[in-house]
């Protein structure tokens, strides 16, 4: 290369002389510039370039009509191109929807399902439900709301006489492990002994019964309630100090509760840990085997695929060569169950989501349905014999409520597929009972609540060895000679451990008939959801959705979510938004004029303002629902005796009451609970005498001062729009006169104007915000308001309209003062009554009520 050569260069179009050598620093300077520009390009290109994707392609790769048809682009650019085109509004040619045949191929169908599950979690029974139910997005899940058939009454009948089946697997399960003392101390900060039994009460710790606690934020009781949680202790193993506990949390507040638990127990996530190198052997123990793990040491990142032993050996080698005090970071790329531990590894928490199926069976026939669909596995070891015998005897009783309340039974059953009838059949109750209910109550075997479901390895083994439906059908095809006959391979299918948890239903015979809403909760391992679900429905259980959770709770006289819990607040806001939107969708002449009806808050119950208005001192503290059992009992007692309420009154509290209308009328949610006046009491006797069914009092219609304002506003707005249009029209005509081509009218661009008009109109339609004015809630109408109804409807069990509402103690006090004293001593004292008014009506009606004592213990 010493001599200069003449070379031909096509781009320059002639001969050029090239140098034989290049100076290093010149070259380096050029390279530096190049690298800089490349980095610049890489970091800022997306913002800076104004070109479209297909414009950035080199000339030789461009094709005609490339922007129109994405298939003409190289494949790697297509996605970006599509999104670019989509943003600018002109969509590229819509590719035809693939044929149904293509879409239904198992692989493609499965891909589609996986894609759709990215946004919302699906339950195992999702596809079954999606074909039959209205599905809604709630709490990060896609859940069945109600059947597409009209089944409201049928579901009530099922819950009262037959069996209602619901999938409530959306509840989160948290597993807490630690010593009893530590857990007790932690939960003492989150709960209060006033609300009933604590989490470490003796009756629950044995694992014999499932309990429920009210959770509050750390030592904030009685304010800042989180939610009601059900819990279940793992039965004691002899000699083990570490106990395990499952908490079943409602998904709406589960994240908040989890954070609170982490704070209280000082737990840290195991996802990323910095650990001294020498301890790595101990650290690996609590982590679950078989999970994909990524280890990043400080020096190098190890390959994901190397086996765990390999890593250990490598690390051990390093340990020998390097200094012992070095740290390494353990990062798990994916955690199947997010795990948390505290600093000295005495308390750990595991979030077991999608690990269990929880089915809720309500109604007395749940017994026979479970008895028909659960057959104890034949190969049960003898120590489980007692368990399965007991379960069988217990399921022969007439009703679940005859058994120990909230009892837990573990059972190992044969695969539920083997227990299906040929056609959908009603499971008949057992003719004879092997053991009397008394015997069953008193003599429980010690091992009854034991279940392998508590063990992680066991659950993994179960889900691994499950015989898929396809494989099962293939085997049946090969082995079953007579259709319907049982095969030899079926006896070898693995046993399924289940946990059955009794729910006692109504326990207050004076209010609701005993045992309404009783049933079983069945906890099944993951993977068995659909198999068990189909068997239960084949035996005649009626499937229900979220709507039935609410309706069963309302029939039982309680509520799913109290208004001061996280879930309650969320739900109330969502419902209020929806009602408001619906109200303004109606044409103006179909809208209820709440100003005329003197209702200040038509879409939601203004608890905060209600408490403020009844507070003696003018303080606007947060409200809470009274859960203190002794206080509630004292209040109920003084209501019964018509004596003044015990002092001091909990001023910021709301008391849950159960109302029932005495005669005609209907109330909806958000109805007003009002104090009757003395004339009302007088008129009541007159009405009874005359058998008069008219409402006791009718609210005089209030004038609506905004009516003329609204009319004026509307007229002005219409006129304005018309004027603007006229202006545009004139402009167009003027242009047309001089133009040679056809001129189109200018677009209106009045969206902002219309929106502001709508907002103003909405403001004029609705009453003034109750937070603005003092006493606006208490004295909004001609009778004083001292509470609101939170759920109401016709109750089939009581054959009348029933409601659950909340009142202020101050209002109750006033009610007691105003009640007329009966002159006749022998006359039985009338139960206390109040007035109810629907927000859409002017009629006040009498309703009797009683205080709900079991606010915190009642499990809806």
């Amino acid at each position: 290369m010493a001599s200069q050569k003449l070379e031909y260069d096509a781009t320059l179009g002639g001969k050029v002389t090239l140098p034989t050598h290049v100076t290093t620093y010149h070259y380096a300077a050029g390279a530096l510039q190049e690298i800089r520009s490349l980095i610049e390009e890489a970091t800022h290109s997306s913002q800076r370039t104004s070109k479209l994707i297909f414009q950035t392609l080199p000339k030789h790769m461009r094709r005609r009509a490339m922007s129109h048809h994405p298939k003409r682009l190289p494949r790697k650019y297509r996605q970006a191109h599509k999104s670019q085109m989509g943003k600018s509004g002109n969509h590229p040619v819509n590719t035809k929807r693939p044929s149904r045949k293509y879409r239904r191929r198992p692989k493609n169908l499965l891909n589609e399902y996986v894609r759709r599950q990215r946004k919302h979690i699906w339950l195992e029974t999702h596809i079954w439900h999606a074909k039959r139910f209205h599905m809604v997005d709630r709490w990060g899940h896609r859940l069945p709301l109600a059947s597409c058939d009209k089944t409201y009454r049928a579901c009530y009948r099922a819950s009262a006489q037959h069996c209602l089946l619901q999938d409530i697997s959306f509840y989160w399960c948290l597993e807490l492990r630690g010593s009893l003392e530590m857990l007790r101390q932690g939960f003492a900060r989150l709960t209060s002994p006033d609300c009933g039994l604590g989490i470490t009460a003796k009756t629950f710790v044995t694992g014999r019964r499932e309990g429920s606690v009210e959770l509050f934020e750390d030592s904030q009781y009685p304010h800042r309630a989180l939610q009601k949680a059900r819990f279940l202790w793992r039965p004691e193993n002899d000699g083990q100090t570490e106990r395990a506990l499952w908490l079943w949390l409602h998904p709406s507040a589960a994240q908040t509760t989890l954070e609170e638990l982490l704070k209280v127990f000082q737990l840290k996530s195991c996802k990323q840990q910095t650990l001294p190198l020498e301890e790595h052997m101990q650290v690996d123990e609590p982590l679950e085997a078989g999970e994909p793990k990524k280890l990043n040491t400080e020096q190098e990142s190890l390959d994901k695929k190397t086996s765990k032993e390999g890593q250990d050996q490598k690390l051990a080698k390093k340990q020998n060569t390097e200094k012992p005090l070095r740290f390494w970071t353990l990062t798990k790329a994916f955690e199947r169950y997010p795990a948390y531990v505290n600093s000295d590894n005495t308390v750990n928490l595991l979030v077991l989501r999608k690990e269990f199926n929880r089915f809720r069976l309500t109604g007395p026939r749940a017994q026979s349905i479970l008895a028909a669909s659960l057959r104890p596995h034949q190969a049960n070891p003898p120590e489980l014999q007692h368990q399965s015998e007991y379960v069988q005897a217990a399921l022969q009783l007439n009703s679940p409520s005859e058994l120990l309340s909230n009892m837990v039974m573990g059972v190992q059953v044969a695969d539920p597929r083997l227990q299906r009838p040929k056609k959908r059949t009603k499971a008949e109750p057992a003719e004879t009972q092997a053991r009397s209910p008394e015997d069953l109550l008193v003599n429980q075997p010690k091992t009854l609540p034991d279940s392998p479901l508590w063990l992680l390895q066991e659950r993994q083994r179960l889900s691994k060895n499950i015989l898929s439906t396809e494989r099962y059908d293939k085997l049946r095809q090969q082995h079953a000679i007579v259709p319907g006959a049982s095969c030899a391979f079926e006896a070898k299918m693995q046993a399924v451990p289940l946990l059955l948890i009794q729910r006692p239903g109504s326990q207050d015979a004076s209010y609701k008939r005993l045992g309404y809403g009783c049933g079983w909760d069945v906890i099944a391992p993951a993977g068995y959801g659909m198999l068990l679900w189909l068997t239960l429905t084949m035996w005649g259980a009626r499937p229900g959705g979220l709507r039935e959770l609410d309706s069963v709770a309302r029939e039982a006289g309680s509520e799913m979510h109290l208004p001061d819990t996280v879930a309650g607040v969320q739900e109330a806001n969502a419902v209020a938004d929806e009602r408001r939107a619906r109200y303004f969708r109606l044409p103006p002449n179909k809208r209820t004029n709440y100003r005329k009806l003197a209702v200040v808050s038509p879409f939601s119950a203004p608890w905060k303002q209600l408490v403020r208005d009844w507070h003696d001192a003018s303080s606007t503290g947060p409200f809470y629902v009274l859960r203190h059992r002794q206080q509630l009992e004292a209040i109920a007692d003084s209501l019964r005796r018509c004596s003044p309420l015990p002092k001091p009154l909990p001023q910021a509290a709301l008391i849950q009451i159960q109302l029932r209308l005495l005669a005609r009328g209907h109330v909806k949610t958000n109805a007003l609970i009002c104090l009757p006046s003395t004339t009302d009491y007088r008129n009541r006797w007159r009405q009874i005498k005359r058998n008069d069914q008219a409402p006791i009092h009718v609210e005089p219609p209030q004038p609506d001062l905004n009516e003329s304002v609204r009319k004026e506003l509307r007229r002005g707005h219409k006129l304005m729009l018309k004027r603007l249009r006229g202006r545009r029209l004139r402009e167009k005509r003027r242009l047309q006169e001089t133009a040679t081509k056809r001129v189109h009218i200018r677009p209106a661009n009045t969206a902002g104007l219309v929106r502001s008009h709508l907002l103003e109109m909405c403001r004029l339609w609705l009453p003034n915000d109750s937070s603005e004015t003092r006493d606006s809630v208490r004295r909004q109408c001609s009778r004083e308001v001292f509470g609101y109804v939170s759920s109401a409807g016709f109750s089939f069990t009581e054959a009348t309209v029933c409601a659950v509402g909340y009142v202020t103690p101050g209002g109750l006090q006033k009610l007691l003062q105003d009640v007329p004293q009966s002159t006749n001593r022998n006359q039985t004292r009338q139960p206390l009554m109040c007035l109810l008014r629907d927000p859409d009506s002017r009629d006040y009606r009498w309703a009797s009520f009683q205080v709900n004592l079991d606010v915190s213990t009642q499990c809806a």
């Binding site: 009933g196 039994l197 009460a201 009756t203 007439n398 120990l404 309340s405 209910p437």
Partner: protein, 168 residues
């Protein structure tokens, strides 16, 4: 309506009042066991409307039941007896009854109110009454169904009217 309904006297149901409920427990009653189940077994409660129960029994008889059983316990014994007597009175002598008494042993749960206590049970006995009401009508003889083909004259009539009348 008030005058027609028989007055009810009887033991007031024992309530969870303060005296037998000390502060450490909450008494929870269980649903009492049922001796038999079926359409003809009726369990008398104190909340169900008396007239509705009466009508239910009468409908059972008119739909062909030969006998029905009324089970009542404790407070509802008087109601059950009233119901049975009313049924027989209304039947103009076609119904008759037989009565059995029994004692039902019940088990209440005593739910603890503090963390240190465990759940305990309380035994209780209650009186029960089982009333069998049966049809003793002599005229109720099983009549074989008449031959299917009616006389031609009748047939013509029924055709003329367009709809066959059920024979009384």
């Amino acid at each position: 309506m008030e005058s027609n309904a028989p007055k009810e006297h009887g033991a007031k149901p024992r309530s969870n009042n303060r005296r037998n409920n000390n502060n450490r427990h909450r008494v929870v009653r269980k649903q009492p066991p049922r001796p038999a189940s079926g359409r003809q077994h009726i369990y008398i409660t104190r909340k169900t409307d008396f007239k509705a129960q009466l009508r239910r029994c009468q409908e059972l008889f008119s739909s062909g039941a030969k006998e029905i059983f009324l089970h009542c316990m404790g407070f509802s014994v008087t109601r059950g007896v009233n119901l049975a007597l009313r049924l027989i009175e209304n039947s103009e002598g076609t119904l008759s009854y037989a009565i059995n008494t029994s004692t039902i042993s019940l088990l209440d749960e005593l739910h603890p109110l503090c963390d240190e206590e465990d759940l305990t049970f309380r035994h209780r006995k209650n009186s029960a009454l089982h009333i069998k009401i049966f049809n003793r009508s002599l005229f109720e003889i099983a009549v074989p169904p008449l031959p299917a083909a009616p006389t031609p004259q009748l047939q013509a009539q029924s055709q003329f009217r367009g709809k066959a009348k059920p024979r009384q």
